[in-house]
């Protein structure tokens, strides 16, 4: 400042004195006030006349109490001092400029510096800035921030809670900590009565809880004032003579917030937060508590929905269990019936054999002893009798064979196909040996050896039988691995589109086959193919060909009862496998037997 022309200095000085938006005070080396600007006049109780000439410490004795004198001395020694609001609050105790802040004094940031003229220090200069508004604003933001944090915490907590009624207790403690409440009540409607029941309470002696257990919904301190369903702040409880407030008065409550718990339009209860230490609850607090009450209502509603869901699920579970029991009973009874039928047909077939043998026997006797004495017609009749008896015999024999397959105990084991074929071929007629071509390699299957043999024999028999008259039969056999489960297979088309499938999963089995090997979930399977160049099976008949006593269209030309394939089908079913045929009339047939891989 010493460098500038005097006029400029004077102008600046005048400005500082009159217009500067901060307090400027200068003192001499003994800290007696030399200048006191307009700002200082306004904000302190001293005008410049009264201030100038007096010691700063006399005007503001609390500078001494607050031990700030040292700062002034340092300034005199040449140091510039900054005093932050956060560390000192203020330098000089002046009245607050923001009434709402509730501060007793103006908040200030101050600087104390040496006042130097040429080489000499003439005293100190003090500059004071009013930061009350800034501090008040910051404090508001902080409180808002804290409240936002409480709200988001409460929201997350309540929404996660499995038991909202217990959780409200923890939420209460957190809120109480921040907002200074000491008591809370949670009342819920139970059923369709007009009373609300106490579900959770804090800050009240246990004996009193009894008294508070149930309240009328419409006319109690924690019920609904009106139908509006809005949150209410009730203050000055102690000085009120309202009947409704008797209980809180007795409890020493001075103010409380009444918060309805609503799900949409429906009232499910009320929540009260009460305080014994102050008589007023302000709008912001009520807002915060209202929001928490909303979250609680959502959580409670969700809890009751969850409970209802759980009940429904339980009922459903019970019902399903009942159904299962019924199904099991019916299946058991069905199995019993099937078993009885099988026993019956077995007994029948068995019992028929004896009388049939008798019939044949007597026919033989007639032929042996009386053919010479009988007239020609009589002999012809006897011959026809014999034929018929023979047919009966074959029929019952086949039936017996079929029922045996149904009734016998199955034990599966790993069976090499080649061994079974060797057995068949060793005791087979030359006709079969000539006709059969086997392709290696032959794999292993999980089967019952005797049944497998029976199946192959039956297939061979059919192949040998059902050829064009005069033609020689050709049978080809091979085996292949199949990895795709039965249901998922895209079946190839060698001969004709239609094919007939028997067995696989599904269908009532009287007995599940026992196996030496434990079953796998989607086990690999092996197919044995038996192909012939016989007469083939027309499309319409392919469906029925595995049925009992089903025969093809030209069946009179060929002997047999048609039970061979039925036995194969039943045997495959019992061994947990399946069978089928692909065939074309006039070309031939390909039968396949599918087993689990051995």
């Amino acid at each position: 400042m010493a460098d500038q022309p005097p006029a400029q200095n004077e102008a600046m000085l005048a400005w500082i004195q009159e217009f500067a938006p901060y307090g400027v005070v200068t003192t001499d080396v003994d800290f007696r006030v030399q200048t006191w600007n307009h700002w200082m006049e306004i904000h302190s109780e001293f005008n410049s006349q009264r201030a100038i000439g007096r010691s700063l410490f006399e005007l503001f004795p609390d500078l001494i109490e607050r031990r700030l004198v040292e700062r002034f001395h340092r300034a005199l020694a040449g140091e510039i001092n900054l005093l932050a609001t956060a560390l000192h609050e203020y330098l000089l105790p002046l009245s607050t400029t923001v009434r709402e802040s509730g501060y007793q004094h103006m908040r200030q940031t101050a600087r104390i510096a040496p006042l130097v003229l040429g080489e000499q220090t003439k005293g100190v200069i003090i500059v004071i800035e009013d930061v009350t508004q800034r501090e008040f604003q910051a404090a508001i933001l902080r409180t808002q921030h804290e409240r936002d944090q409480i709200l988001s915490w409460a929201l997350a907590y309540l929404l996660k809670a499995r038991d909202p009624r217990r959780t409200i207790r923890e939420v209460f403690f957190k809120v109480a900590e921040h907002l200074d409440f000491d008591t809370y009540f949670l009342y819920l409607f139970e059923g369709s009565t007009d009373a609300i029941k106490l579900h959770s309470v804090g800050g009240v002696p246990p004996e009193t809880e009894q008294q508070l257990a149930s309240l009328p919904a419409n006319n109690s301190f924690c019920g609904f004032e009106s139908e509006s369903g809005k949150a209410l702040a009730i203050g000055d409880v102690q000085s009120s003579s309202d009947e409704k407030l008797l209980i809180p008065r007795q409890l020493g409550i001075r103010a409380y917030a009444l918060l309805p718990l609503l799900v949409g339009e429906r009232k499910i209860g009320t929540l009260c937060f009460a305080t014994r230490t102050r008589a007023v609850i302000d709008k912001e607090e009520l807002g915060l508590l209202s929001t928490i009450a909303e979250y609680l209502a959502v959580a409670l509603n969700r809890e009751s929905t969850d409970l209802a869901l759980r009940d429904a699920q339980q009922a459903l579970g019970e019902h399903a269990k009942q159904l299962e029991i019924k199904v099991a009973e019916r299946t058991a009874s069905l199995k019993e019936t099937i078993s009885e039928l099988e026993t019956f047909s077995y007994s029948l077939a068995h019992d028929l054999r004896a009388p049939i043998r008798a019939l044949i026997g007597y026919c033989d006797v007639l032929v042996e002893d009386y053919s010479l004495t009988f007239p020609e017609e009589a002999n012809a009749v006897v011959q026809r009798l014999l034929l018929a008896c023979g047919r009966l015999d074959v029929l019952t024999r086949d039936l017996l064979q079929f029922t045996k397959v149904s009734r016998q105990k199955i034990l599966l084991s790993v069976v090499p196909i080649s061994e079974v074929l060797a057995d068949i071929v060793s005791s087979a007629p030359p006709r079969l040996k000539e006709a059969l071509v086997i392709h290696e390699p032959l794999l292993e299957v999980l089967a019952q050896r005797t049944l497998l043999q029976q199946c192959l024999v039956n297939l061979f028999d059919n192949a040998l039988k059902f050829v064009e008259p005069g033609a020689s039969p050709q049978i080809t056999l091979w085996a292949e691995k199949v990895d795709v489960p039965l249901r998922n297979r895209a079946l190839p088309l060698p001969f004709s589109p239609a094919r007939y499938l028997v067995g696989g999963t599904g269908g009532i089995d009287t007995e599940k086959p026992e196996s030496e090997i434990p079953p796998k979930p989607n086990p690999p399977r092996v197919r044995i193919w038996v192909e012939d160049r016989g007469i083939g099976i027309p499309v319409e008949s392919q469906q029925k060909v595995f049925g009992i006593f089903e025969r093809g269209p030209n069946y009179e030309r060929y002997e047999g009862t048609g039970i061979g394939l039925a036995i194969v089908a039943r045997a495959m079913q019992r061994m947990g496998g399946s069978c089928g045929v692909e065939s074309e009339r006039g070309v031939g047939s390909r039968f396949w037997l599918e087993f689990l891989q051995g």
Binding site: G78, E79, I80, L82, A84, A86, L87, V131, R142
Partner: protein, 204 residues
Amino acid sequence: MELTPAQADALTELINIGYARAAGALSELTGYRISLEVPHVAIYPISEITPLLEEVITSEVASVNQLFSGPISGNAILLLDREAALLLNRLLTNRPEVQIFDGAAREVITEVGNIVLNACLGVFGNLLHVQVNFTVPNLKIDSVREVLKGVTLERQELQYALMIHTRFHMRTNDVSGYLVIILGVVSFDRLVLELKKWEERQLT
């Protein structure tokens, strides 16, 4: 240019005296026991301090600097990394929730810097019998590079930087910072001279 061990020791002792005063002022201000320590003092040509400090302070830095003039003149800067400054602010004002440099926090750091710098530079004045004047403390929060850009002196002469690694202890917390004093070669020579004289005075 290097400090001889004797010079380094003398300087450390001088700074410690200054720091003791600063610690006393800070302790009284806050009511907590605060102490300041000088673990290390070194001197570097000014061109080297930016990369050096960038290595140890990787985040933004809060700096308070004051120019001083007299027979020994230069620029004194207190540097704290951002997190350390915020921690210091939280501890001094007992407001644990403050996470950013709001107005109040900025003032607090400025005052702390002011107290520390005044204490050290004041010590030069008192003990070395050298009259030193300072400017108003200036707070800048920026990268190390930006902060140091503004502090090199306007003169043409060779400049040195005294790097004084500083540790603040308070309430079981440690905050580290750097006091950097930038001097021209003339001032530095003068400082060394006065230091020697001071030492000699001690011994008599």
